[in-house]
């Protein structure tokens, strides 16, 4: 079907579909043939061929084709651009605009105040506390997600267990992913209740004397919340890494085994480098995503005992819907947005450098 479609896209009967560059010397060993289709056949007929620069040569192609080739990537990303521009640019632009006014929405006559909100936010102690807590949550969660995701995926990919066990455990491992945030919050509040099941188990086996206030004690609240976030988010890493593991060619492992590498060495030298692009993308996303985590924190501790689990998400929410300071909330959002843009900038530059 696609083949015919391509035929239609090109113009008439006899069209040039490409150019193969010949090696001047003409020996087989100098060339690096790719054993597919035409090149293979030519090889058999004694014509040495290298197909590597096939695409780059534009000599003799019409300007229309050049234009088509230049516009090709844009055609592929056009639906994305359309959707994101229409639906995101306007609201995000509005949010940025809000941050420059004294108050919007509840204030019927907003006044332009420039960067005042930004100065106010930076001076606000609550903002700084939120920033610190959020960094701890983000870094802790992302690291744990990575480790747990890698370990689970590796365990699940092991050749030592049957496919049935793999399938069964895979199903169990993605369970935390399946639930909406409200239910996860309620469930963990139930489990971590001072009179809940965890404390019951701990007191029965005499690990602790009195019930631990997991979520209400400022010493344990942040850790508990980080733990819940880890639990709720690791399946993302696990499935992505698992999918990535499927894409690593077996021959690499075989070659490593032949070289005498142990399982651990193979992991470090074969698996991790192959998974690198996926791991980096996911870490980037998770960092950005966790830093604006709101609903889970809000529904478990509401910002915690005093300010122990106050995050940027809860801080912004309270500004917007409790203090009705939408401009300040917008300011906080823009600060987060800019920080993430910086992060994204370094990520993209790193990607480009590697390419």
């Amino acid at each position: 079907m696609l083949h015919r479609l391509l035929g239609k896209l090109s113009s008439k009967k006899s069209k040039k579909v490409g150019v193969l560059r010949c090696e001047a010397g003409g020996s087989h060993s100098a060339a690096q043939p790719i054993l597919l289709g035409i090149s293979e056949k030519l090889m058999r007929r004694g014509c040495p061929v290298s197909a590597s620069s096939l695409l780059r040569d534009r000599r003799g192609t019409s300007s229309l084709t050049i234009l088509k080739k230049n516009l090709e990537p844009y055609a592929f990303i056009s639906p994305t651009i359309l959707l994101l521009v229409v639906l995101m640019v306007v609201p995000v632009g509005l949010v940025i605009k809000y941050s420059f006014y004294d108050n919007v929405i509840v204030n019927q006559f907003p006044k332009f105040v420039g960067l005042d909100n930004y100065f106010a936010i930076v001076k606000d102690e609550a903002f700084r506390i939120a920033l610190v807590n959020t960094s701890m949550l983000t870094v802790g969660s992302v690291l744990a997600h990575l480790l747990i995701g890698l370990s689970f995926a590796t365990l699940l990919n092991s050749g030592l267990i049957s496919n049935f066990s793999k399938a069964l455990f895979r199903m169990i491992y993605i369970l935390p992913w399946l639930f909406t945030v409200a239910i996860i919050a309620i469930l963990w509040r139930m489990i971590l209740n001072p009179n809940g099941v965890i404390n019951y188990i701990l007191t029965t086996v005499h690990l602790t004397g009195s019930p631990i206030e997991w979520l209400s004690n400022e010493k344990t609240a942040l850790l508990s919340v980080i733990f819940i976030n880890i639990w709720a988010g690791y399946p993302f890493y696990m499935t992505s890494i698992l999918a990535g593991l499927q894409g690593i060619p077996r021959d690499l492992y075989e070659a490593a085994t032949v070289d005498g590498a142990s399982a651990f060495q193979q992991f470090i030298n074969v698996t991790l480098p192959q998974l690198r692009p996926i791991i980096i993308s996911m870490t980037m996303l998770d960092l950005i995503w966790t830093s604006q985590q709101f609903a889970l924190i809000w529904m478990t501790t509401g910002g915690g005992p005093m300010t122990a689990t106050e995050m940027l998400g809860t801080y912004t929410y309270k500004l917007a819907f409790s203090q009705y300071q939408f401009s300040q909330a917008a300011t906080s959002a823009v600060v987060l947005f800019v920080l993430s843009m910086l992060l994204a900038f370094f990520y993209v530059r790193n990607q480009k450098a590697r390419d």
Binding site: L83, A167, Y173, N195, R250, S281, A330, S340
Partner: protein
């Protein structure tokens, strides 16, 4: 020698199994607890010492859901929206990821940075302007509004993940198709997509999950009970004065079933290397 290797294998196998079981407790215990609680009457959910199986085992929570057409409608809406979002997002994201992975064009980095950082705008601040936009576009309280909204949320993830997957596939695969006379479209759909099925499946499941479990925008962009989705249904059970705990648990369990089924259905795409052997150097 052979016996030693066999013994080593056995030890490794047991170690792996132990690791898997510990992980299963970590992952599954809370969900198992939820499952048990969905069969208890409301009064026993907070009992101490906690009971495993209640003496008054009851299906009341589930019965409440199945006997109420309004609640069934929540599930229908969630299905329609989530399935549409997944398919459309995959379609759009695969194309965009292909462009990012295989082409170099002006504006590529900027666009990359922008879609990455758009993720960082907290939805709670975005809610009101976005809501205004939806009302203006007359997409308020429609399936289309929700679908487009979720696409906006899931596209950046999908694109970045798919780009990552495509980047792990060697360029020789592309050249294979080009030699055969295929253009960019052919390269994408003939080679790259079939080969990255595990990646597509995981992105697809993830997209489905996001749209199935999303609450804030589902609530804001729907007005009438007929358009509401499962997460809203669950929150409706948390009233000001009464919480229907067992019904909440039951609804969550029921809500998690479609994704489990999806996962089961697509399991085999996680097995085996589809790229191994496709290109020989």
């Amino acid at each position: 020698m052979a016996a030693q290797t066999k013994q080593k294998r056995l030890i490794s196998k047991i170690a792996v199994l132990i690791g898997l079981c510990l992980g299963a407790i970590f992952a599954g215990f809370p969900v198992f607890w939820m499952f048990l609680n969905s069969f208890k009457p409301n009064s026993e959910i907070f009992a101490f010492p906690p009971k495993i199986i209640s003496d008054n085992f009851t299906l009341a929570g589930y019965h409440e859901i199945f006997s109420n057409p309004e609640k069934i409608r929540f599930f229908t809406n969630s299905y329609v929206v989530s399935i549409s979002v997944t398919l459309l997002t995959l379609l759009v994201a695969i194309q965009a990821a292909y462009a990012f992975s295989r082409f170099d064009f002006p504006g590529k980095s900027t666009f990359n940075i922008v879609i990455l950082s758009l993720q960082a705008v907290p939805p709670i601040t975005l809610m009101i302007p976005y809501f205004g936009l939806m009302v203006t576009l007359k997409l308020y309280n429609t399936y289309q509004g929700l679908i487009l909204t979720y696409m906006v949320f899931t596209l950046p993830y999908a694109i970045i993940m798919m780009t990552g997957y495509f980047n792990t596939l060697p360029r020789e695969l592309d050249e294979a198709v080009k030699l055969d006379g295929g253009g960019a479209l052919a390269t994408l759909w003939r080679i790259l997509v079939p080969v990255s099925i595990p990646g597509i499946v995981s992105v697809g499941i993830y997209t489905f999950m996001i749209s199935w479990n999303e609450y804030l925008f589902a609530l804001t962009l729907t007005r009438t009970q007929e358009m509401r989705t499962v997460p809203i249904g669950i929150q409706l059970l948390m009233g000001q004065h009464s919480y229907e705990w067992n019904e909440m648990m039951a609804m969550s369990i029921l809500g998690s079933l479609p994704v489990l089924v999806l996962f089961l259905f697509f399991q085999r795409y996680f097995m085996g290397g589809l790229t191994s052997g496709a290109v020989k150097a």
